[in-house]
């Protein structure tokens, strides 16, 4: 029998992604662009929240959106109606965006930096949590229809997020949403995250969400707001 020897490699698989994410972060800092990475399950309302958010921000700030989906450009078409620059990344077999996909999609956007870039990740709470995209704010959405223990099922997505947005609160009573149970499970994986409850459809809670964004946009921007 052939003798074997063991060769040590010791390599973290995220090293490449993290290096590209770091370069993106430097570039966003140079341009004064606030970057928001939106994570959620499919159907939690990322696109609807973004539409409502852009309606509020687009008049005052230069906004752009990158949308990741495995297939179709429907979300990009929905968002383009708000008049902001939207680019779709169709990931095919991949279940998440990575820093390289973002860098490629932004390659020719250098000439027109914006105040805020929203990255709508692929609807999935597992894989996107692993990939740093160079964002300032990681936001995880969690709709009232999803089951209050969702943060416990996907701890990494909730643990690594700065903000948890509870969406579709207008139907909370109808679906028997247990607010205390949801808050408890969010806190069990992330005691620090800011929790914002809103309904993009009725507008309740949207002021709190847009104030948070505006505050962060102004803090990151190089020039005074328009």
């Amino acid at each position: 029998m052939t003798k074997m020897r063991v060769v040590a490699i010791a390599r973290n698989l995220m090293v490449k992604n993290d290096a590209i994410a770091e370069r993106l972060r430097e570039r966003f800092a140079r341009n004064g662009t606030l970057v928001v990475n939106l994570l959620s399950s499919p159907g939690s309302g990322k696109t609807t929240l973004l539409q409502a958010t852009l309606e509020r921000l687009a008049a005052r700030y230069r906004a752009a959106v990158l949308v990741g989906d495995q297939a179709t450009e429907n979300d990009a078409m929905r968002l383009a109606r708000s008049g902001v620059a939207v680019r779709q990344i169709t990931t095919g077999a991949e279940c998440r965006l990575d820093a390289d996909m973002v860098a490629t999609a932004l390659a020719d956007w250098e000439e027109r930096p914006c105040d805020v870039l929203f990255i709508e990740n692929v609807g999935n709470l597992i894989c996107p949590a692993e990939y740093d995209l160079g964002e300032d704010l990681r936001v995880v959405l969690f709709s009232v229809t999803e089951g209050e223990d969702k943060p416990l099922k996907y701890p990494l997505a909730f643990n690594t997020s700065h903000v948890v947005v509870v969406t579709k609160t207008d139907i909370a009573a109808a679906v028997g949403y247990d607010r205390d149970a949801a808050t408890t499970s969010i806190r069990q994986v992330n005691p620090q995250a800011r929790i914002i409850e809103l309904s993009a459809r009725t507008g309740v809670g949207m002021d709190e969400w847009s104030s948070l964004l505006e505050e962060r946009i102004r803090a990151k921007s190089l020039a005074p707001a328009k």
């Binding site: 003798k3 390599r11 698989l13 991949e94 279940c95 949590a129």
Partner: protein, 115 residues
């Protein structure tokens, strides 16, 4: 769910080390995968067989060490392994322990090659 791209990343890592060291045949690859990484072991093994076809790793064994979730509990002042599905909660004192010490690993550790 991203096992194929993880398998490709592993293969890339193995191939680059093999090139540097003039290795042209690999019989086994050792990896460490954390409980929070979202990687399904069987799916990763299957992906490995697929992506290594016609490479120096063809037919090689993928040996997966699963790394459990370990957090640091401030209240107990020690490392604890939360019960699966309980979030980042200390199993002893029930305090929330959001500092993750291990469980996020996706590491290529070593390869076995013919001597």
């Amino acid at each position: 769910m991203h096992e194929v791209s993880v398998a490709l990343g592993l293969l890339e890592g193995v191939e680059s080390t093999a090139r540097e060291q003039g290795i042209d045949r690999v019989t086994a690859v050792h990896v460490r995968i954390g409980a929070l990484s979202g990687i399904v072991r069987d799916a990763l093994m299957f992906s490995w067989d697929v992506v290594t076809a016609e490479t120096i790793c063809e037919g090689s064994q993928l040996r997966v060490e699963e790394v459990p979730l370990v957090v640091y509990c401030e209240r107990c002042g020690r490392e604890r392994a939360p019960r699966p599905g309980s979030g980042l909660v200390c199993p002893e004192c029930s305090a929330i322990a959001p500092r993750i010490l291990s469980g996020r690993e996706m590491q290529l550790v070593a390869m076995e090659v013919p001597q």
